[in-house]
Symmetry: C2
């Protein structure tokens, strides 16, 4: 098919939507972020990116800690709102039930099925962006989404976790149905 | 709801599945990666993570360039296969029609609706992981997925792009239906 060139556009899709938690001036703050990914399983690494001037960035710079909370689609309005207003003007922690984990400055959201406590290992500065690469210290998950298979816990289908997905068409999406299993679909090409 | 602690697990979900392209020993190589995210719009930044020993990592270290190609669900078997075998033993470029863009060492896949040419700005080494933070130099997209709205091009719905999504339950998923618009859903909470 003929291709078109769009220029310097980071058209990564789809994008997982998370609520990033930080402690800024002693207060929990939550902001909506799509710039988030796993960067390795062992060690358990994630990367997130924020603008240098972002309110949450102050808290992460100060404490080297943040949380990554995964809202479900029932939380869409509150999640979108967290991307619309700054913690400088609005106390967004009042939208949620906040709880603490093992770190002192990584506030977690009770209503989110999954929350990760993260400790910053490296900060990369590129122009106005601050990219934090962090180790996941603890993963909190609603009991209802954990199954025990043999001797270790497994996590429920992503359909049950019901995440919010985003794309650069500025729309939010739901997850669709499962279509295959890792390291199985390619076997017939061997 | 009561929470359970799973320990140091990077339970980020959902995960976009991409085919990372690199030139290794003069040959195009493609590997399946879930460790990929947008890290900023302007400048257009992405991050990807690979093991230091990965065949593609050699090519990226040597040339500071790679591509990020987004397969659709019709490409699931080939995509999964690219995560099962190493380019050291198998010429994976024969699975696809390969084309070149503006960079010399960022081979692109014709069959993928979207491909990004990326130039490495920073490499972060954490244990055996190599995290590449790169600027998107050019975004190639199938003409059929570009619409013109006013004076600038817009990209079709992610449903039409039909990406492959992955999660740590080791299953692949399809994208679901749109559920809202960015900076609109939160307005009623103002």
């Amino acid at each position: 098919m003929a291709k078109k060139k769009l220029g310097s556009i980071p058209l990564v899709y789809p994008i997982p939507i998370v609520l990033l938690g930080a402690t800024v001036d002693g207060q929990p703050n939550f902001t909506e972020v799509g710039d988030c990914a796993v960067m390795g399983i062992n060690p358990a690494l994630v990367a997130v990116s924020l603008a240098a001037t972002h309110h949450s960035t102050e808290g992460i710079n100060a404490h080297g800690e943040f949380s990554v909370n995964f809202p479900n689609t029932a939380m869409l309005a509150k999640t979108d709102y967290c991307g619309m207003v700054s913690g400088r003007d609005t106390d967004k922690s009042r939208l949620f039930t906040v709880f603490g984990g093992e770190l002192s400055h990584a506030p977690l959201i009770e209503e989110c099925p999954v929350g990760l406590e993260c400790h910053v290992l490296e900060t990369v500065e590129i122009k106005h962006r601050r990219i934090f690469i962090a180790e996941v210290v603890q993963c909190h998950i609603d009991e209802a989404f954990v199954q025990t298979a043999g001797d270790r816990p497994t996590v429920a289908s992503v359909n049950r976790l019901d995440p919010i997905i985003y794309a650069l068409d500025n729309r939010y999406y739901r997850i669709g149905e499962p279509i295959g299993t890792g390291y199985m679909e390619g076997k017939r090409l061997r």
